[in-house]
């Protein structure tokens, strides 16, 4: 069993309530931070911990905090990004739904470190039933003196509010989220200026993922150095992984970074192996945006070394033979899955979610979806494959926000690793007419042999 920091009390009955959460040692980090530490000291611990943003980009949280414009006399804001919408990712929802106080406690300590007097939790609107859960948690914390004026008798005062999105993946991008929180369309802003200088209401703002913020209390409790000892190299601490797809035990798992991928995929403690006794075909290890890997390249890197669940190991080989840990949205495909059809659903997703502001993403995502749909339904041409590669290339890096990259990477990587399967769709249109084509007769490629279970 690996060490658990975020979900250690998930099975304690009534952990959703303040009373039980407190009894388990909850809110100790608020007491420690507000009564014995300066805001800078809190930030220092987070820096030392090596915590990296858990929303997908993996940028060091402490460093992000240090960019906040402290010279400005404007109010500062912390926004918790709870707009969890990356296909394959559902860990934040789990955390907020079952241990809401873990997030609230993190919000208080993080806001203190940043000097924010009002902080917002921007949650995707679809999580309608979680809003009352979080609001109740906030009220309980307030009643116990952890939120409001002069928290625990100190000079520090804070309000925490929950704000709802309304159905837009793009609002998970921090500047789009700020626009949305201002009551506007979720159009990302051009950067610079960065939110740390010009953010919410033009004030210095930090936007952090739910899991990042929830990791702050354990860091304060055990100390940044101690936290940094967990994990491997620059991938410190524990990470929530959302496991889905063709596995026996889908769900949210807290792992110590550095866990061998083979153990994560096959052991009964985690995913429990591929369902229905089938073989592994491919894995998308970090949410729909990151490159897909064929089973063999997922288990071992191009040099034949076994991979572990860490930012570095999953990225080993760059885009040629690696992927990314991303948000930890771990999607597994068995031998019957059609890579083209899965990719088409992703392309449809990005097309649907593009805000439409900048031309490469607005036009390119729809184009890719249409071409993929054509190929998948047996109406493609051989030249369509290179067309997709070229369109993806013309989107990547040329858009206002990373949604363009997120739409381009899955396309580029699927063709890189599974080109033969695209060609098969074009060569044998009558065989792919049935949407369940590979369920009936799995596609076998010489180049990408499926990995035996």
């Amino acid at each position: 069993m690996g060490r658990k920091l975020l979900l250690k009390d998930i099975d304690v009955p009534g952990i959703r309530s303040f009373e039980v959460y407190r009894k388990q040692g909850g809110y100790a980090s608020v007491e420690k931070a507000l009564k014995t530490m300066t805001p800078d000291a809190v930030m220092e611990e987070v820096k030392k911990s090596g915590l990296r943003g858990r929303g997908g980009a993996g940028f060091p949280t402490g460093m992000k905090w240090s960019f906040l414009d402290r010279k400005s006399d404007k109010p500062r804001y912390l926004i918790c990004n709870a707009d969890e919408s990356e296909p394959g990712t559902f860990k934040d929802r789990y955390l907020m739904e079952y241990i809401p106080h873990a997030l609230i406690e993190g919000m208080i300590v993080s806001s203190y470190a940043l000097g924010a007097k009002a902080s917002y939790i921007y949650m995707r609107g679809e999580f309608r039933w979680i809003f009352p859960i979080l609001e109740k948690a906030i009220e309980e914390a307030r009643a116990a003196g952890f939120i409001g004026k002069n928290i625990l008798g100190t000079d520090y005062s804070l309000e925490v509010y929950v704000h709802s999105g309304a159905g837009a993946y793009i609002c998970g991008e921090e500047t789009a989220q700020i626009e949305s929180l201002e009551g506007k369309r979720g159009n990302p802003r051009n950067k610079p200026p960065f939110p740390a200088v010009v953010g919410l209401y033009n004030c210095p703002t930090v936007v952090n993922n739910v899991e990042s913020i929830a990791a702050v209390p354990p860091i304060i409790n055990i100390g940044g150095d101690e936290y940094a000892k967990i994990g491997v190299g620059k991938s410190t601490g524990t990470k929530l992984i959302s496991a889905s797809g063709h596995i026996n035990k889908p769900g949210v798992y807290e792992i110590e970074l550095g866990l061998p991928v083979e153990e994560f995929l096959y052991s009964d403690e985690y995913c429990g192996g591929i369902w229905k006794g089938r073989k592994l075909k491919a894995v998308i290890p970090g949410g729909s945006s990151v490159p897909i890997l064929p089973g063999d390249l997922f288990l071992k890197n191009a040099k034949g070394e076994p991979r572990v669940m860490s930012y570095e190991s999953l990225a080993d080989g760059g885009f040629a033979s690696g992927s990314m840990l991303g948000s930890g949205g771990f999607i597994v495909m068995d031998e019957t899955a059609c890579i083209v059809r899965n990719l088409w659903t992703f392309a449809r997703f990005y097309h649907h979610e593009s805000c439409g502001q900048c031309s490469p993403c607005r036009e390119g995502t729809g184009w890719m979806e249409k071409v993929l749909h054509r190929i998948e339904t047996g109406h493609g041409k051989m030249s369509d494959i290179d067309l997709l590669v070229d369109v993806a290339k013309k989107i990547e890096g040329n858009t206002i926000c990373p949604l363009g990259d997120a739409a381009a990477w899955p396309v580029a990587s699927a063709i890189r690793h599974f080109r033969e399967e695209f060609e098969y769709h074009i060569k044998y249109p009558e065989k792919v007419k049935d949407p369940k084509h590979f369920e009936k007769e799995p596609f076998v490629s010489e180049r990408n042999a499926v990995v035996a279970a």
């Binding site: 559902f90 009551g183 369309r185």
Partner: protein, 184 residues
């Protein structure tokens, strides 16, 4: 179609709206737009008519076009009337891998409608939606405040019957992140 009530918040709804507006700094009342639209949609029959949006614009002291721009951007706002019970079936990769196509196909057949349509009796609207962050319990769909997870074709009849029971009432509950009556 759902009953259309006069476009005027009840006292309880208005109190909630005013409470939410106060969460944002003075002069930044536009920030409350998304939350207030959620409340309006739940209160006024599950969709946002032009009258409803103009009413919200008035409350927040912004131009009607600012409301239209926002309401048409976000997928949770219905700009057309919907049935008493809106089925939103997820169809993105992880749900597709576990059979969401079958669920959608079954619902289309069973209800005799295509995605985006409403049954003739005004009971069900069928929508397909993109990832709802429930990939570990796929396939799934959202109905109002609830996620109905680990769906299978075999279970669908029972699910539909239950939904018909709970939603076939004069004022069905469309759900909202900001319930006017807590605990409902």
């Amino acid at each position: 179609m759902a009953d259309t009530k006069p476009v005027q918040f009840t006292d309880a709804a208005m109190a909630l709206v005013q409470k939410i507006i106060k969460r944002y700094p003075e002069g930044r009342q536009k920030s409350a737009l998304l939350p207030v639209l959620h409340i309006a949609q739940a209160e006024f029959g599950g969709w946002l008519s032009t009258e409803t949006m103009d009413y919200v614009a008035g409350i927040l002291n912004i131009k009607p076009i600012e409301v239209y721009e926002v309401a048409s951007f976000y997928t949770m706002y219905n700009l057309q009337p919907v049935g008493k019970c809106v089925l939103e079936v997820c169809r993105t990769g992880p749900c597709w891998l576990r059979g969401s196509d079958d669920i959608i196909q079954y619902l289309e057949q069973k209800l005799g409608i295509k995605e985006g349509e409403t049954t003739a009796d005004g009971m069900f609207t069928l929508k397909t939606v993109e990832c709802l962050a429930s990939c570990g319990s796929a396939p799934m769909m959202q109905v109002g405040n609830h996620y109905i997870e680990n769906l299978s074709v075999e279970k669908m009849d029972e699910v539909l019957n239950k939904l018909k029971e709970t939603h076939n009432v004069p004022s069905p509950d469309y759900g909202s992140p900001y319930p006017v009556t807590p605990g409902k």
